[in-house]
Symmetry: C2
Subunit: 369 residues, 2 copies
């Protein structure tokens, strides 16, 4: 399992966005997904690749989804439904459908509610992986709304002072529109690093940084350590630390934020928390705030632009070229990859060849440029 | 300024809650605050003291408020008003009134909206200090709702890679009810430490921990350093780091969360962001989620209890007695201080004597037990 992931710097090829979309869509439909859901799921994955969030794009995620459909752990045709609803809220049973297919529908409902009563919040239970969670938050942007997403994940993070993991990496995303500047788009696990970062370290044969994981007894490891092996499920065998790493550096804050995500996504939705026996792997939360319900949109956008320009013009500390804000680098990568293609590793391209052959679909990536 | 704060471990006296409330209320009314607002402000301050959040109780905060009324920087009789409203949202002009007086009214509005449309969000601009921000979130608890609070604060935290401060410590609070367990109440600055922690270190003559502040050029200081001096405004002259401290430990996440608070509290409300020239010192955000709008309240409470018991029964790591969840220790302190009184330092008791004399009000704390 490890060898196939070994990465060398010069072993990737750029592929056209349209070809990648075509192939990914074909793979989803070959797995039994409807054309509409396949379009949505493809857009979530390829948008991650376009924005440079490769950890949540086709390379890492798609093969797991294909396996999940094959193992009947994922429902390719979820009959998701709203189980409870008010003018500003809804709770959705995702019917074991992937978050990347169901959450965009939930966000559409939240946006519709926000257009009517100013704010819309939708929880999603009995669900599966949400992909790059900022995708769903970003759906609010063209509506002049602010979007938020949270996802309660399987457990691999230790609470502060704990000897065992009790929470998922539980990411939070927020997307806020601007005028002429690139929108603010924040998307981060509330653990010090996401689980994917440990897999990445294993592939690159890098030590983990001090403060990323705890020892078997829960003591934070404040020196470099070798990356953990992966379990049979592909999950790193590690006690990841909350954002803040140690109590002195505020790990109780990362712990509290992960707990907040479990409450709003898992418990409020009735879906269950991380270590609850029999809990589905993921539960989610989305919210849309209609800017016009609070202030004039033009004034808001003017102030956002002013604020974002202030942040990016901030004097950098020595050794750093510039100060970024969340979403800025991703917008730059998007522009590059739209024009010049999306880099995929040779191993990923070879996986596409094999998968397409096995599923009997055409692989548009064979016409790479 | 520094000497008066020097603390010795055995130099405090426990005072009765009722006596403290009486004196604090008298001080507020002597500053021109209405009886209703004085009751509210007193409850916010004394609740912080009862829960052991001494940094936001009477000791640290009240003298600043009295000075603010004297300097006319704080409006003792704010004519706050809703400037925009929808069924699920409102935006309030706080008329330079203290957050501890106006935000509880905003939360009442949010709770009322949540009871009607499932969720209520209220922003507050042109405001002042919010006190212990979880107070306002906790107002949702008796209504079987989940409460959230955020506050965009004056600037003293550096963004990741920045040589200069651009954000406030921007705290986030969430309060979620349980059944028989103590409620989950999280309340934390999104910087690695709140500004008050540096003042505390100065009082105790303690070095700051590695990872708390940056050098003058913005480089994170990863070794112990002496506490910074206070400026004329009583604010520590330091570049505080975001939660995460360094980029490797995820400081871009603390930075992103502080930015989220600036957007939802400051920019969405039209009040302005941290370093905007002429910006009022604080802008806020409150939300209430009606649990019944998402799921059965009894089922929610049963699952919350189960989850909280699981967290507090988690095996602790070596050197730690137990694993806590946010709000648990505070509930224990509350029970103790309700019965045994609130410990106040001699210097604080002496300040009360002087202040009461100056304002011509009776000091009920002279009957301490």
């Amino acid at each position: 399992m490890i060898d196939r992931f070994k990465v060398t710097a010069h072993n990737s090829t750029r592929v056209e966005e349209t070809a990648l979309r075509e192939t990914v869509r074909s793979i989803f439909t070959a797995c039994g997904v409807s054309p509409k859901d396949a379009d949505t799921a493809t857009d979530v994955l390829v948008t991650a690749d376009l924005r440079g969030i490769d950890s949540h794009g086709v390379s890492n995620s798609l093969r797991g989804y294909v396996q999940g459909f094959h193992d009947q752990e994922l429902n390719p045709t979820p009959e998701w439904r709203v189980v409870r609803e008010t003018p500003g809220t809804a709770n959705i049973d995702s019917d074991a459908g992937l978050g990347i297919m169901v959450a965009p529908r939930a966000m559409e409902i939240a946006i519709d509610k926000a257009s009517k009563v100013g704010v819309g919040t939708v929880t999603i239970h009995n669900s599966r992986h949400l992909g790059m969670i900022s995708y769903h938050a970003m759906m609010a942007l063209p509506h002049d709304m602010i979007g938020m997403t949270m996802s309660s994940c399987p457990v691999n993070v230790n609470p502060t002072f704990a000897a065992e993991p009790r929470l998922g990496t539980n990411p939070i995303a927020i997307a806020a529109p601007a005028g002429t500047e690139k929108p603010f788009v924040f998307d981060a696990a509330m653990s010090v690093v996401p689980a994917n970062r440990l897999i990445w370290a294993l592939r690159l044969d890098q030590d983990l940084m001090p403060g990323w994981v705890a020892d078997d007894d829960g003591t934070p490891l404040m020196h470099p350590v070798p990356p953990p092996e992966l379990g049979d499920d592909g999950i790193p065998q590690a006690n990841i630390l909350p954002l803040g790493s140690t109590h002195e550096l505020g790990s109780h804050k990362g712990y509290g934020l992960m707990a907040m995500v479990d409450i709003l996504s898992g418990i409020l939705s009735g879906g269950g928390y991380g270590v609850k026996p029999g809990r589905p792997t993921f539960n989610h939360y989305v919210t849309a705030y209609n800017i016009e319900a609070f202030t004039e949109v033009t004034e808001y956008k003017q102030m956002m632009d002013e604020w974002l320009v202030m942040l990016k013009n901030t004097k950098p500390s020595p050794g750093h070229e510039r100060v970024l804000y969340a979403g800025l680098k991703e917008a730059e990568t998007l522009a590059d990859r739209k024009s010049n293609g999306i880099p995929l590793h040779a191993e990923v391209l070879s996986w596409f060849d094999t998968a397409c052959q096995k599923l009997g679909v055409e692989n548009a990536l064979q016409n790479r440029f």
